[in-house]
């Protein structure tokens, strides 16, 4: 299938729209789950939803998605509330409670699923599509249901923006201000449940938690503002959903749900590596630059001490003398040449180095700034950075 045809393809349009909605809702909600350090709540909820789907089918004998998803909402919600009840009333910690609910509910769901499949009149209920997801089974009506769920999530975030912000940052302070913290927590959990159920048919209970965690984790890398983080997380979710849908329709036998998860994992990887400030590459470069600065400062101090000892700025010293412990000759050369290019050091003969007047002044101001640094740093918030130059 060529690309222009894709846009017209009805099935693909439905699938892509569904996948984008799923990315949108889980991306927005995931921000709060990740910031609350409850990333795995999504995992527990999605697994807990399975018995709800099976029970809904057993009770109604209907294959209608909306009905089955209502069962998923009920079971996921029940599981999540059980988790919070366990952590509040017993000594069991959050991670254990999550693991407990996840495995108990999921196990029960699998038992029910096997039971359904062995029944003669089951006639392929197709419930296993919720296990690993089956985007191709998405109908237009399913997408409409997903849109309603997504809309509810977005509306809640817009209306309760400041409430959720404070709830995540400092719930105790929220209570002191008189906010209804328990109610807000229940609303937040309900939103996570909704977002997960929106994605169940596409991605499945097993992989759904990735859609809650990954876009938000990637978004956190790029920004220090909550509003931007929510927007970016939503964007990443939508991007992953759309590209997953398109990629899997271009390639035969490529499943949509897992492809979406792989794309969003790729986004996380890129973000962890490359994001400014928080990315690994950035950190590596920064610590390298800082090491260089420290070396240059040390070298300059050493030269200044020597100059004072000799009482002259004309006296040169060979680089072998200037080698501090653990420095290779190349490193010494490198630092000296760097300092020479900034005018703090000059070469007075073959392998003879001396500090300049500018270098002496620099050492003096650095020492003074260091002394005052611990106080003035708090005033200006500059963190007492005294070495602006040195190495690029």
């Amino acid at each position: 299938m060529a690309l222009p045809d894709l846009a017209l393809d009805y099935t693909l349009r439905t699938v892509a729209l569904g996948a984008m909605l799923l990315g949108l809702s889980s991306g927005v909600v995931g921000t709060y789950a990740v910031l609350r350090r409850e990333s795995l709540l999504g995992d527990a909820i999605s697994h807990a939803a399975l018995p709800g789907i099976a029970l809904a089918f057993l009770l109604t004998r209907s294959k209608e998605s909306a009905l089955l998803l209502a069962g998923a909402v009920a079971a996921g919600w029940f599981g999540a509330l059980l988790v919070s009840a366990i952590t509040r009333t017993t000594r069991v910690k959050l991670d254990s409670a999550l693991g407990l609910i996840l495995s108990v509910f999921f196990g029960f769901g699998l038992v029910l699923l096997t039971f359904i499949q062995k029944q003669p009149d089951a006639s392929q209920a197709g419930l296993d599509r919720f296990l690993f997801g089956q985007a191709a089974s998405l109908l237009r009506r399913d997408v409409q249901v997903m849109a309603i769920g997504t809309l509810a999530v977005l509306l809640a975030v817009l209306l309760l923006w400041k409430e959720f912000k404070l709830l995540v940052f400092d719930p105790d302070f929220a209570r002191v201000l008189g906010l209804r913290v328990r109610l807000l927590e229940v609303i937040l959990i309900s939103m996570i449940v909704l977002a997960i159920v929106v994605g169940l048919q596409t991605v499945g209970v097993v992989l759904m938690s990735a859609m809650v965690v990954a876009p938000a984790a990637a978004a956190r890398q790029w920004t220090d503002r909550l509003s931007l983080m929510v927007l970016l997380s939503a964007l990443f979710g939508v991007m992953a959903g759309m590209s997953g849908a398109v990629l899997s329709s271009l390639t035969p036998r490529l499943p949509t749900g897992p492809t979406i998860v792989l794309v969003v994992s790729g986004l996380v990887l890129i973000s962890l590596l490359l994001a400014p400030n928080r990315g690994l590459v950035w950190n590596w470069a920064r610590s390298r630059a800082r090491r260089g600065q420290v070396r240059a400062e040390g070298m300059l101090r050493q030269l200044a001490a020597l100059a004072e000892h000799h009482g002259s700025l004309e006296h040169g010293h060979p680089s072998a003398v200037l080698r501090a412990s653990g420095w290779s000759p190349e490193q010494v050369e490198h630092v000296l040449h760097d300092l020479e290019s900034t005018g703090y050091v000059r070469q007075v003969g073959a392998d003879r180095w001396a500090i300049t007047a500018a270098g002496m002044a620099r050492v003096r101001t650095a020492a003074e700034a260091n002394k005052a640094g611990d106080v003035s740093a708090y005033l200006t918030g500059s963190g007492g950075e005294v070495t602006g130059e040195g190495q690029p």
């Binding site: 910031l35 350090r37 209306l159 309760l160 923006w161 400041k162 409430e163 912000k165 404070l166 995540v168 940052f169 400092d170 105790d172 302070f173 929220a174 209570r175 002191v176 201000l177 008189g178 906010l179 956190r220 920004t223 220090d224 503002r225 909550l226 931007l228 983080m229 611990d374 106080v375 740093a377 708090y378 005033l379 200006t380 918030g381 963190g383």
Partner: protein
Amino acid sequence: MADRHNEGVPAVAVQDLTVAYRERPALWDVDLTVPSGVLLAIVGPNGAGKTTLLKAILGLLRPVAGQVLVFGEPVEQQRRRISYVPQRGSVDWDFPASVLDVVMMGTYGELGWIRRPGRRERERALAALDQVGMRELSDRQISQLSGGQQQRVFLARALVQAADIYLMDEPFQGVDALTERAIVMLLQQLRAQGKTVIAVHHDLQTVPEYFDWVMLLNVRRIACGPVAQVFNEHNLRLTYGGRFAMAAFAREVEETAPTVVTPDRSSSGGGARGAA
């Protein structure tokens, strides 16, 4: 603005308060009456229940027994008049927010559901930042603040609330000299405005200088009253245990200022060693 209608009614009245975590009591039958307009320090060894007492007054945890009244009413009905400066370490400072964002949170209570803070709230937040000397840093990411700056952000957030009672949990803990001076000035301003401050405090040396009243607490209330009347060696010995010696402790304080680990009864802390 201290409320003149409440003249004579204590700012905080705690009666027979008992709080337990599991079986272990954290507070046992504690009474406390704090007159309006007083700066009160709560002191006591580690595990004495100081933070627990603050949280119980704020209604953040449910006591086993006893009652708390704020200006003569349950705290739920006085939310607007009571503010809280929690311990710095109680939140994750890597949260994506700026200094101004956090300070504006102090206005969320009065705004009520759904309404967002606007220009007026912003102005008030900036004014509060001015009071703690942090206005220039209003756009800074909170993850980039020093410990003292974090403390001042929390103070500003409480100031924005324009409450009558301020509960502070170790406001001087691990802050730099500059922040300590800023907090002391702030306490004096609050006193001048007739506000009430109840602060958990660790540095015994500065109690007489910074506070009017002191409560000595070790699960039970040992003593409470004006500093001149109750802050003496006898009461301190009762609070911190027999090994406590004022002279030895004072020496330790000078050596390890500004923050001092009080001699814990179970461990052989510096103070206890000095006393031996």
